[in-house]
């Protein structure tokens, strides 16, 4: 049976689906051990970001994930995956810890964007994102970033500067939401579908741009339909990447990462 072509807008809906597997489910399925660690040591613990130490086969790694909820209650607790500055600072603290103990970093990206609120601005949302991007470019351990759902704007990039960037087949990665794009450039927020098509936000688009390294296939209907096969492929890719990146010297690793982003134009 020929596969029905999924439009960019269909992918937006799939990426945002409440029932779609979230970061914690990936963590549970891919890592044989995981201990969550909390707090940015400066202000609070942002629950839209989960961070900790895990084991993938014999490798100890630091894991960071943006966590959306599946229910309204969970979403309230997780702020719908919209990270505040303290979330980015918690992530950075744990990533710097990873560098100290020489363990690779795996990030899972899933956010409608950094939280636009008064407190977020008071506590330097822009500074927090900038610091993460800048520091990640220079960390001397392998970094693998996986976009599992919505990768929207600087709020996603703040966890997205790595040696390998992976997207799930139905995940999206964009400068802002199609609704925002439509309202700014078409002056009409209802042209969201048209925007989604024109924005080039699908995994295939990003692969064609050379921004991402790998697309993980999803079964028809999305990752949740056969989560085992999705996590199996992802786990294999992560392990292969760790082995490959571990062969590089620290200088080669950082130099390659610099070149990777340097040539994106």
């Amino acid at each position: 049976m020929p596969k029905i072509k999924t439009s960019a807008w269909d992918k937006v809906l799939l990426a945002r689906q409440a029932s779609r597997p979230k970061a914690l489910e990936y963590i549970e399925n891919i890592f044989n051990e995981f201990i969550e660690l909390h707090g940015d040591r400066l202000f609070s613990d942002d629950k839209s970001i989960i961070g900790g130490i895990g084991k993938i086969e014999d490798y100890t790694v630091t894991v960071i994930g943006q966590q959306k909820g599946k229910t309204t209650k969970e979403n309230m607790e997780r702020n719908f995956g919209m990270t505040n500055p303290e979330g980015y600072r918690k992530a950075l603290r744990l990533m710097e810890q990873a560098e100290k103990f020489n363990r690779p970093i795996i990030t899972f990206i899933d956010t409608p964007g950094a939280y636009p609120g008064i407190g977020a601005e008071e506590r330097g949302q822009g500074e927090a994102i900038a610091r993460n991007i800048c520091s990640m470019s220079n960390l001397k351990v392998p970094i693998i970033c996986v976009v599992i759902g919505e990768g929207s704007s600087g709020g996603a990039l703040a966890l997205g500067v790595g040696d390998k960037i992976v997207m799930l087949e139905n995940a999206i990665y964009s400068i802002l939401s199609p609704e925002g794009f439509a309202s700014i450039l078409y002056k009409d927020a209802s042209k969201n579908k048209e925007a989604a098509e024109n924005m080039k936000i699908t995994a295939k688009d990003l692969k064609d741009f050379g921004i991402i390294d790998k697309i993980i296939k999803e079964p028809e209907g999305g990752a949740g339909e056969n989560f085992e096969s999705v996590t199996k492929e992802l786990k294999t890719y992560i392990l292969k990447s760790i082995k490959e990146l571990n062969k590089l010297t620290k200088n080669e690793l950082v130099e390659n990462r610099y070149k990777k982003f340097r040539t994106m134009c």
Binding site: E121, Q125, A130, S174, Y258, F261, C265
Partner: protein, 284 residues
């Protein structure tokens, strides 16, 4: 007779104040949108683009800014001749860029180059709001990165005047990646032990705030500049509240610890110069 004269002046004043700003943009006069005073453009320019009446700092073109900061005759522009790949093939985008090039006499939303500040060599990047609100697409990102790399190569301070509505939406995800490109270059600049002074001017928002703008060793700002990540309207729509007075202005950022100092335009060159001279290390 004297009274008549005063009356006449008052009527003229009234008429001037009732003029719409748009009526005057083409002429020799401009209305201060803060104090509503009508200003003679030449006089405003002589006063560095600051309202002589209320002190409002008007936006400056990159060329004017460079004239104010860099020693006369020392500026050499770098990084020209780049063009966007128009990654989204966005309708009318390339045409618009061509028209703006023609109109503004600059190639993109940032002008970069090498020059001297009170005889000290620097690399400078100045963003220009007349060019798609200083938004950062691939060419802006590339020019800024080249400027950072030039500063590393020459081992001289880097000065960036930020002014931006954020990422260039017309270039989609490629614009987002410019944040990573420029910030990675800043990380290298930092490793090289070089000074980077970032100056935030009205407005500095979005992807520029969330990348190189906030990464200065020293961050200065002009008075009352709008500085933030999310735009005020987006925040209002999200939280469904009116924002407090002075929210996301320079003074607000200073109070919350995100900038080092607010500097008036008349003192900008001397302040930057002093900071540069204080970084000429005498302890080595």
């Amino acid at each position: 007779m004297i009274i008549d004269k005063i009356k006449k002046v008052n009527v003229q004043e009234e008429n001037r104040k009732n003029l719409k700003a748009s009526d005057m943009l083409v002429g020799k006069w401009v209305k201060c949108d803060n104090c509503k005073e009508i200003l003679y453009k030449e006089e405003l320019h002589e006063n560095l683009g600051v309202c002589p009446n209320c002190g409002k700092h008007f936006r400056l073109s990159a060329r004017r800014r460079i004239k104010q900061i860099i020693d006369e005759g020392t500026f050499v522009e770098i990084g020209n001749g780049l063009t966007t790949k128009d990654p989204l093939k966005f309708d009318g985008y390339v045409k618009k860029l061509e028209a703006l090039k023609e109109k503004t006499k600059i190639e993109e939303a940032v002008v970069t180059g090498v020059g001297k500040i009170n005889s000290d060599e620097v690399v400078i990047a100045v963003m220009d709001g007349n060019f798609l609100m200083g938004s950062m697409g691939s060419v802006v990102g590339e020019k800024i990165t080249l400027a950072i790399e030039e500063s590393i190569k020459r081992k001289v301070p880097l000065i960036m005047f930020c002014l931006s509505g954020g990422a260039r939406m017309q270039e989609g995800i490629i614009s987002l990646m410019q944040m990573a490109k420029t910030s990675s270059a800043i990380a290298r600049h930092n490793d090289a032990g070089l000074l980077y002074i970032s100056v935030l001017t009205d407005p500095t928002t979005g992807g520029v705030t969330a990348s190189f703008a906030m990464l200065g060793d020293i961050i200065l700002a002009e008075p009352n500049a709008l500085i933030g990540f999310a735009g005020p309207r987006v925040i209002e729509q999200t939280i469904k509240q009116t924002l407090p007075e002075g929210f996301q202005r320079s003074e607000f950022l200073l109070e919350h610890g995100f900038i080092d100092k607010i500097v008036e335009r008349k003192d900008m060159k001397e302040t930057i110069s002093k900071l540069i001279k204080l970084h000429i290390n005498t302890n080595n």
